[in-house]
């Protein structure tokens, strides 16, 4: 696919992606950016510039917590991980996303028996 055919990420989904990525293992900003790139495989376009505001927003909401520790290159990096509240939030978002996706399929007639 050509790069310009990637569609921009819908509002609010970036937060969900980040929670999902971090739920697997603690990660720093660069790492999360790499993972986003891999997972979305050029399907969605993630502006790297909006990653950091999102991380800080999630941290302030108490869904992520951050620690400085040594990264794979040996340098100190800020690692984010999920809090208990973050886990609950991710579960809730997955649930509501599944419901929404089901509803969309239903409306477009794909899921009809």
């Amino acid at each position: 696919m050509k790069p310009n055919s990637r569609f921009p990420i819908p509002q609010g989904t970036l937060d969900m992606f980040i929670l999902q990525i971090v739920s697997l293992e603690a990660a720093h900003g660069y790492g999360i950016a790499q993972r986003l790139e891999q997972i979305s495989r050029s399907v969605v376009q993630v502006n790297q510039g909006s990653l950091y505001p999102a991380l800080h927003r999630l941290e302030q909401k108490g869904w992520l917590k951050a620690k400085w520790r040594e990264s794979e290159t040996g340098r100190e990096a800020k690692f984010y991980e999920l809090t208990a509240a973050g886990k609950k939030q991710l579960a809730a978002e997955k649930d509501s996303w599944a419901k929404l996706a089901g509803a969309v399929r239903l409306i477009f007639g794909e899921g009809e028996p």
């Binding site: 720093h28 900003g29 660069y30 950016a33 502006n47 790297q48 510039g49 909006s50 990653l51 950091y52 505001p53 800080h56 927003r57 302030q60 909401k61 108490g62 400085w68 990264s71 290159t73 340098r75 100190e76 990096a77 800020k78």
Partner: protein, 902 residues
């Protein structure tokens, strides 16, 4: 504490920023490595990495927005939560709001006075460039007027020094009989140099303002500009105002225009109704024909500094011109023959430039110290109100401890809880500020009446203006923060388990509350002590009295020369008036004197004294002219020698004063206590000054300028005052109002067109002369009353709390056989432990304020033992009284019940 919180907040902010910086740097460097691996050079890699995230600064800005959004969200939430919880406890909320409203309202009202009287710049072009020019040294000139006086010619000369000034003007306030067609009324006008409006940059609302051409040959241009307020209120705001006639002291003047709206002259204390050129001063100031003489100082000189010129540079730069002018002046043929000493002092004179953005005002001079004292007092009161609210919050906090503990356990951060407390107190501060601001105009109206009454027509305004509002907002926010600090700190310190486990308050909370009550005691002592000092000052002044009779006395003043009478006519009129008053059935006796008493002004001059040697007084003596009946009527005793008689009066009419009566202070200072009878004095000093006036008597001391002042005086026969008007002092029988009506009739029959000025009882006149002292005493009294109420509520609250917490301990003590008295003592001891250190700290503060307060005291020092003792006694008594109720409750504890309750 504020400072620590501020530093903490700053350090936290710095940490956040540096962490973000590190985080972004890590990201960019990792991306650069990626790109370099793809074969890009370092610079290109860096460019790509930065472009990818849209610039580091951009990202940082967005992250900061996130922080702020979160803070604002939390704060809005805190405010909502605070509003709800405050609404649930209306009694608490009302008490707290009322405390702050009291503090903020009184501080805002006093601040507005301070602002209007002391700080407010004139509504003219660029007021900051205005300076007052003052002569520091000997002027060899005789003066009349208020302060900072110089002559008209020197003002005109200075106006030519264009390298320093964009213009120099002069002005003098004068009281006149004024009419715009109706009856003559006493009003104030400003006599000004022709460039007055031009230099100030004030235009006309109608017609034109005065110009240089109006200030030409003496008496040539009888023109006037009237004030906007007079035009609107008294002349209906007529558009065709230019060309109309007004009358000043019965002389017709042509109105050329109306001054701009909002411009009320350069004196906030005395607002003129009109301005006339100095060239017409003989008409505005009857009998004054020497306005062009450099020997007459009667005007204030104000200038506008030239562009780029500073006050310091202009002052230095004027030096050479001024010295040359002094030299030249002294070579003049008509320069007075004065002693070598006086010549030397004259030549050593300097010009001093003072900032005059606020204009020139004697009201400011009178009120500057009292107002700063009052501002300090309301500051103390506001601090006290904040402490009171802190105490209330802590008390509520210990009741809400479980709620706080629960929130902590649910994961709220300490900082969050502390901020919740701040939101509470900010809301209280805002509500208190609103209420206080609403009440401020009422307080302000009272203050103006109290402090500036009798000062007819001031520019003071009791409305809420932007500056009062600004002050109130700042005070409310500050009060909100200050009163929330202690509770916020306390809420942050409590542990979760501790808070949930403990049922009563924690020891820490009680300690903090005690500290707050101790602080309240200290501030209260300051206010009570100042109130005692001011009350004592007033009492001392009243006890001292003016030194003449006041009961059953009425006074009024007439100024026939302002009614168009010549000196000779005035002399005859005064005699007819005196006779008519004497004949009135209500009159017991009547005395007349020249210069009014107890108004702050006087006729004064240095004197030459001839005894067995010849010498000069080392300071001005106060002089006056009186009729022989003045002494018995006023109850002023002739302690040696004789009173004036008819022959003295007759001679004085032709030859001026030939005899004088001096007071006891004169005898003490200049005669070493020996009899002055037969010695001679002369008005003025200098080698050829003749001392020809014989001292024929000595009178008891009495007050002239004011009750505070004790001065050397000499009085001459009344007719020696050159045919000016005079003040009548009448001893009357019967009630004041009836007697005053009868006197008014008597004067009306002879001179119906002459206003009776300052017509009042002498008791009232004495009262008026003590306006400032009375205002200070009564304001300080109300402040200290409010302070006592606030701090006693605080003390009572803490003691009740302590008694409730110590019920078990008291119960055990009782069970073990302690007497009820010992339980009372236990509580009282606790109260004393707050009152005593509080009073000690308060004493230290009183000592610290000594310099500020000293200037307004009389007959008592700032650390007067009696006054301070009384204040401490009152505080201790009231404090123990407030503690007595909880103490009684403690003594009523039933041991069995108290132990069972646990």
């Amino acid at each position: 504490m504020m400072r620590r919180a501020w530093n903490w907040a700053r350090a936290r902010r710095r940490k956040l920023e540096s962490d973000l910086e590190r985080e972004l740097r890590y990201h960019v460097e990792r991306r650069m490595q990626d790109f370099e691996r793809e074969g890009l050079n370092a610079g290109e890699a860096r460019r790509r990495a930065l472009a990818e995230i849209g610039g580091v600064e951009q990202v940082r800005e967005e992250v900061r927005d996130e922080w702020l959004a979160r803070w604002a969200r939390d704060f809005a939430y805190d405010l909502r939560y605070a509003a709800r919880s405050l609404a649930r406890t209306p009694a608490f909320t009302l008490t707290a709001v009322a405390s702050l409203a009291l503090g903020i309202g009184s501080a805002a009202a006093i601040y507005s006075m301070v602002d209007q009287v002391l700080l407010h710049a004139l509504p003219v072009r660029d007021p900051q460039r205005l300076v007052l020019v003052d002569w520091d040294g000997e002027q060899v000139a005789s003066g009349f007027g208020s302060w900072d006086l110089m002559s008209y010619p020197i003002c005109r000369e200075m106006d030519k020094q264009k390298q320093f000034f964009d213009g120099v003007f002069c002005r003098a306030l004068t009281r006149v009989n004024f009419s715009s067609g109706g009856e003559f009324e006493p009003e104030v006008i400003e006599v000004v140099s022709g460039n007055y409006f031009g230099v100030l940059g004030v235009g006309a609302a109608a017609g034109r303002v005065l110009a240089e051409s109006d200030d030409g040959a003496p008496g040539a241009s009888p023109v006037a500009v009237i004030s906007y307020d007079y035009w609107k209120l008294r002349m209906g705001g007529a558009r065709d105002i230019a060309g109309r006639k007004i009358w000043i002291n019965r002389q017709p003047f042509t109105v050329v225009g109306v001054a701009a709206e909002g411009f009320r002259g350069v004196d906030v204390g005395e607002v003129p109704v009109a301005w006339t050129p100095a060239a017409m001063s003989a008409e505005a100031i009857p009998g004054f024909t020497e306005y062009l003489s450099p020997r007459q100082r009667w005007m204030q000189v104000l200038g506008r500094l030239a562009d780029g010129m500073t006050r310091e540079r202009a002052q230095v730069g004027l030096g050479p011109w001024f010295r040359a002018m002094l030299d030249e002046d002294m070579k003049r043929a008509d320069f007075p023959k004065v002693s070598a000493e006086t010549r030397r002092e004259y030549l050593a004179s300097k010009l001093v430039l003072k900032g005059a953005a606020q204009g020139h005002s004697s009201l400011r001079r009178r009120l500057v110290k009292p107002l700063w004292v009052l501002m300090a007092a309301t500051g103390v009161l506001l601090g006290l109100a904040c402490l009171n609210v802190s105490g209330l919050f802590l008390a509520r906090g210990s009741a809400r401890e479980r709620e706080m503990g629960t929130r902590l356990a649910l994961g709220a951060s300490r900082g969050r809880l502390g901020r919740g407390c701040l939101a509470d107190s900010l809301l209280i501060g805002a509500a208190g500020g609103l209420l206080g601001t609403a009440a401020a105009p009422v307080a302000l109206r009272g203050l103006i009446a109290l402090l500036a009454d009798g000062q007819k027509g001031t520019a003071l305004n009791a409305a809420i203006d932007g500056r009062l509002l600004g002050f109130a907002v700042a005070a409310s926010v500050a009060a909100g923060i200050v009163s929330g600090l202690a509770p916020a700190w306390a809420s942050g310190r409590r542990g979760v388990t501790e808070a949930l486990r403990e049922r009563g308050g924690t020891a820490g909370g009680a300690r903090l509350r005690r500290a707050i009550v101790t602080g309240q005691m200290a501030l209260t002592l300051v206010l009570v002590a100042e109130a005692a000092l001011f009350a004592r000052t007033l009492e001392r002044l009243m006890t001292k009295g003016p030194g003449f009779a006041t009961a059953g006395m009425v006074t009024f003043r007439v100024e026939p020369t302002r009614g168009g009478y010549t000196a000779g006519q005035t002399r005859r009129l005064m005699e007819r008036l005196e006779e008519a008053v004497r004949r009135s059935p209500v009159t017991v006796s009547v005395g007349v004197e020249g210069v009014p008493l107890l108004t702050g002004g006087s006729w004064n001059d240095p004197m030459t004294i001839q005894t067995d040697r010849r010498f000069e007084t080392d300071r001005d003596m106060n002089l006056n002219a009186v009729t022989p009946e003045f002494f018995p009527t006023m109850g002023i005793r002739i302690v040696a020698g004789r009173n004036f008689d008819e022959r003295d009066e007759a001679k004085a009419e032709d030859a001026g004063a030939l005899v004088a009566i001096v007071n006891e202070a004169f005898v003490k200072r200049y005669m070493g206590g020996r009899s002055p009878l037969g010695a001679r004095i002369g008005e003025g000093t200098g080698p050829d000054k003749k001392a020809e006036i014989e001292i024929v008597g000595v009178m008891s001391d009495f007050s002239y300028r004011g009750i505070r002042e004790e001065s050397e005086m000499a009085v001459f026969p009344f007719r020696a005052n050159g045919g000016a008007g005079g003040t009548f002092y009448v001893k009357v029988r019967g009630a004041g109002p009836a007697a005053m009506a009868a006197l008014r009739d008597a004067v009306r029959r002879i001179a119906p067109e002459l206003p009776m000025l300052d017509f009042r009882t002498v008791d009232e006149q004495v009262d008026r002369s003590l306006t400032t002292e009375r205002a200070l005493a009564s304001l300080a009294e109300s402040f200290s009353g409010a302070a006592l109420a606030l701090s006693l509520v605080g003390l009572y609250g803490v003691m009740s709390f302590v008694v409730a917490r110590r019920r078990k301990e008291i119960g055990i003590r009782m069970a073990l056989g302690a007497r009820r008295g010992s339980a009372v003592w236990l509580v009282m001891k606790d109260a004393l432990a707050m009152i005593v250190p509080g009073a000690a700290a308060g004493l230290a503060a009183v000592w610290g304020m000594g310099r500020l307060v000293e200037a307004v005291l009389y007959g008592v020092t700032p650390m007067d033992a009696g006054a301070l003792g009384a204040a401490i006694g009152l505080l201790a008594l009231a404090g123990l009284g407030a503690a007595a109720i909880p103490a009684r409750r403690a003594s009523g504890v039933d041991p069995a019940e108290a132990l069972r309750a646990e």
